[in-house]
Amino acid sequence: MELRIENLTKQYGTFLAVNDLNAVLTCGVYGLLGANGAGKTTLMRLLCDIQSPTAGTVSYDGQNIRENGDHYRNILGYLPQDFGYYPDFTAMKFLLYMSAIKGLSKGYAKQRSLELLDEVGLLQVKDKKIKTFSGGMKQRLGIAQAMLNDPKILILDEPTAGLDPKERVRFRNLISSFSRNKIVLLSTHIVSDVEYIAGDILVMKKGKFIHEGRPDEIIHSIDGKVWECRVPNGQVPSLEGRYNIGNMRTEGENTILRIISEEKPLESALNAAPNLEDLYLYYFNDEESSNGK
């Protein structure tokens, strides 16, 4: 089973959202990392055949997904980033509706909906209207609908947004148990989610993959660029302006800084082992700051 992306390009007017991407996804969990506007959502929509590419193809087991139509959608599960619900539907009615448009038989749909509601911890509220749900509950219901048809390809755009730490752990376990013999692609800003469950990471910037590999391999690409140092509190503002600060912890009169920098920021700075969050900051700090402006 493989999902092959070949020269995939999507252009909105003059803006290239996805720029000549090539990749082959086989069974496993893939984490998609990138700043806002990197092209993650567009890529996911292209993989779900919700948008058509300007150039290039996506093929599943050698067949173009656009020509495959409902055969491809039968094996697809998708959770969009920005989604809603029919407010008057109950959780159960919503899953039954999604089952109906996924073409599942009624008996199977009912059984599978109950099973998934139980797995995402919503069985107790299955007959309550969705408009009464919290953000986290809605997100969990979204994850459940994506898994209704036991998809072979599961695409999740920011699935952990709005989930509290306990729910995130539950989600990670759910994905891990679900992902055997399947292709799971998830994008998130919460780097630790990817770190725990993704076997491979795709780092995306300005519509292109800039890194692709196992988390430990990718992290090694910034070896020697993460530093830790202890500085007096008064020195922190000037360092903040000059360097990319990953973390700071105040201890009395001093502050311990974690700095991501090509060169040694201070004489007293010591090299630290990088993690995925450092990697994210190394590649996307500039974009995150400009997005925030």
Partner: protein, 265 residues
């Protein structure tokens, strides 16, 4: 043999005492082939016939649609039984844009509720979902229009007036509303969707005025063949826009950034 609570070493010993059954390779191969056949036959994704799909989708149409249509019809019959032709005529004029508003509002609920992306990735994608919804809503609209016609005839109202005051505004308003939905796609908002049928309703009135030569109930009416021609033209426009919407809706939003137009909601 009773296993009970035994230690692991005892269980190992117990298992060693049991020799595994001899497997006949021919029977095994036969069984595997049989299982594979059974799995192929087990269809948890059956392709349902069209009437069954319509019934399924009908159960997910909002209740307010049926209630408001039944309400309008009851109101028409209430005045028809009182032989109040003036009120029935006024109600019939409002019926066209009213039904269009219900149609476009229910049809576009995927965009308003932001479920369109989830629905697009399903086996029956957005185009097919819209087609099912259109079939159901048009079916219901024609039943309501048929009921309204019977009510109007009870007040001895002529057929051409029904065409002019009800069918023509309904076809034209619906055609314009579906056209608007085609143009704005997922960027539609409740305010915009309400504004389109109401504006179209007003345009209908201007059209009727331009087609007209005499005055009836304060509204000028035509005396030539332009009424059936205009009604048929509006029906053709409606069907054209409905078909285009169904064929285009799946990729309707692909070249647009996700931004709403005139979102007062």
């Amino acid at each position: 043999m009773e296993i009970g609570m035994k230690k692991d070493s005892e269980l190992d010993l117990l298992l060693k005492q049991h020799t595994p059954p001899k497997v006949d390779q021919k029977i095994r191969t036969l069984h595997i082939a049989q299982f594979s056949e059974d799995i192929k036959k087990m269809d948890y994704l059956p392709r349902e016939p069209f009437p069954s799909q319509i019934l399924t989708h009908m159960s997910y149409i909002s209740c307010w649609v049926w209630l408001s249509q039944a309400g309008i019809l009851l109101l028409i019959y209430y005045y028809a039984f009182q032989s109040n032709r003036l009120t029935v005529s006024m109600l019939l004029y409002c019926l066209g844009p009213g039904l269009s508003l219900i149609l476009v509002y229910e049809l576009s609920k995927s965009f308003r509720a932001k479920t369109w992306e989830m629905e697009s990735a399903c086996r029956y994608n957005l185009a097919q979902i819209f087609f099912f919804r259109l079939c159901i809503l048009f079916g219901a609209d024609f039943l309501v229009l048929g009921g309204a016609l019977i009510g109007y005839r009870m007040t001895d109202g002529p057929l051409w007036q029904f065409c002019l005051y009800t069918l023509l505004p309904f076809f034209l308003t619906s055609a314009l509303s579906l056209y608007a939905l085609r143009r704005i796609g997922s960027r539609c908002s409740s305010a915009l969707l309400s504004a389109v049928p109401l504006t179209a309703g007003f345009l209908d009135y201007l059209l009727i005025f331009s087609l007209s030569k005499e005055s009836f109930l304060g509204i000028p009416v035509p005396l030539d063949n332009s009424v059936p021609f205009a009604t048929l033209l509006a029906l053709a426009l409606l069907l054209y826009n409905a078909l285009r919407l169904c064929t285009e809706v799946h990729y309707l939003n692909e070249n647009r950034k996700d931004q709403k137009l005139w979102n007062f909601g």
